[in-house]
Symmetry: C2
Subunit: 340 residues, 2 copies
């Protein structure tokens, strides 16, 4: 099959890879209907995360089940399914508490490479959620968004304790940040401040429910949030970048007793203990347990109550994955969907 | 009046200080029935926190109201009152959300020096809580404990989301850690693991409700907590020390999705962002909003349902404050009560 492989920083090639096979009785193999490039793929693409030899890329996927292992009970060939970036058994104590991305048996999908024609999904019964039937083509982008960026933005909002009546700020205007705006809206936030200086992203943020746009960053961004919130800071702040600056911006934009939900994969972040102590914020985040939210998100999409697929402003055939990476790296595209 | 003053590291003197006076119409002046030495007083005492000239010490207090300012409405002369280490208006938005120690008008009691015969308390109506009547003398130590260490341990337990059925670990066996054990018991924890290697403290921990004692520290302590919790870690971990080692021990002892409540004043702590991200813990803490808990804690003490005063294993006249500091510094005493 064809699949995207990162050979070195900025060297993405779509090339022939081995067809995935059932290797454990709990596996499924799916034929991808769509996959995409993630903001987190840009860390190794940019060389900020080391690349160890040619690495298959991608961890977002929707598609049709082709084959299942002998112990797979609920997932069937022919179903249209969505999974997330960690395979999880969905039965261990950690999964049952809603933290499937820390499942005691978790496996990283990224290592298997979902930017490809086919994908082996471990722990299929625990990992995959089937849609009511094979969706019409126009629903595919939104269902694909649920695989990671929507689920991650949603977790950010939940981790930030978004609730009716609250003021929410979102740091980061990538697909996750924009979908955190959508999640905050769905969760009933009264006021949603999107921090963005890119006009097309501001537009989408407003479409998703943002009530205010703040273009300032760092200390100036913090001052602006304080100004908009009676000097106190937002009740809930969602961090969707993962840098030192964005984390501190999020913490400092939150009022005492408020909540920071952080979902940007932390790179080079060191949190000063004393400042955190006196900030009085709640801090929660990490790799989103997307599986927890998938059934509800699929319902919302199926009933056309939300349209998270709008974050895909570039659609390319899989063979042009390299252009997808470039467009996102240069911020020409919010998110690139790849059609195998 | 007489009061304790820190002149330099390890140089505490009880000397003549000016009698406090009403300086704002919202002030009260109280005559102290008891005060005490706090673990956090040891930071400047040990020279870890810089001391800027002679500094009046102490921030824990109970006593009789002697005088109130013209705008004080609910607090009356003759009442026995308890307050905490931050004065707070108890009416601002932050106070009403339960974070009185981040009140927009907060004032630090420590700067006024509660290890003395008298104390001026700013924002008296918001800060002070009166007992139903003047208590019998045997209740005074427990009421004094509510002023900080009980309220702080309680906040640690609440911040760590302690609830019925949960397994709780407590890092730190000072008065706050021991009273966090008591709080966890009151909040219904099923299993309470106290981390302590000091026999008298272990004994008190068990008396307060600990079900297990772990003597190991650092990585070994973490391994022991994992061993006691099916490899997963505790649901709730209360950190009551404030060092890098204790914070990391707390975070690593917590299961994914679990909660760390940290109340040890952070000194030299830097939290690694990536480890925190992948730990999936909730992190919350800071200077305890003791005021939030005071009415409930006073009830529990008044009804003799809890006896937090047991943490005072040394009682001295105020004039011997220096010996109280020495005994705590050398860990000969858990906590020293001072009688003015």
């Amino acid at each position: 099959m064809r699949g995207a492989v990162l050979h070195a920083p900025r060297d993405i090639r779509v090339e022939q890879r081995d067809d995935p096979k059932i290797t454990a009785p709990t596996d499924a193999v799916i034929r991808l209907a769509a996959t995409c490039v993630c903001g987190s793929d840009l860390w190794p693409y940019r060389g900020i995360e080391p690349v160890d030899g040619p690495a298959p890329m991608g961890h977002e996927y929707v598609g049709i089940v082709e084959e299942v292992g002998s112990e797979v009970k609920t997932i069937k060939p022919g179903q249209f399914v969505i999974g997330s970036f960690f395979a999880s058994d969905n039965t261990c104590e950690i999964c049952r508490a809603g933290y499937q991305s820390s499942c005691v048996h978790r496996e990283l999908i990224g290592a298997l490479g979902a930017q490809a024609e086919h994908l082996r999904v471990p722990l299929a019964d625990g990992t995959l959620v089937a849609t009511p039937e094979v969706p019409s083509d126009d629903l595919v982008p939104s269902l694909l968004a649920a695989s990671d960026v929507l689920g991650t933005g949603w977790f950010g909002a939940v981790a930030a304790d978004v609730a009716p009546g609250k003021t929410v700020a979102v740091v980061g205007d990538g697909a996750v940040g924009l979908l955190a705006v959508l999640a905050a809206k769905q969760l009933g936030a009264e006021r949603i401040i999107a921090m963005s200086r890119h006009e097309p992203r501001q537009k989408l943020a407003i479409e998703f429910g943002a009530t205010d746009i703040v273009t300032e960053r760092g200390d100036e961004g913090v001052a602006k949030i304080k100004e908009l919130t009676g000097g106190l800071g937002a009740h809930s702040v969602i961090e969707a970048v993962g840098t030192q600056e964005s984390m501190m911006q999020a913490i400092r934009s939150t009022r005492p007793g408020g909540h920071v939900g952080y979902v940007g994969v932390a790179h080079g972040v060191e949190l000063p203990g004393q400042e955190l102590f006196f900030s009085h914020v709640h801090l929660h985040g990490g790799p989103a347990p997307v599986r927890r939210f998938l059934p509800g998100l699929i319902d919302l999409i199926w009933n056309r109550e939300i349209d998270p697929g709008k974050v895909f402003d570039l659609t390319l055939p899989l063979d042009q994955a390299a252009e997808g990476y470039r467009a996102m790296d240069e911020r020409r595209a919010i998110k690139a969907l790849l059609r195998p």
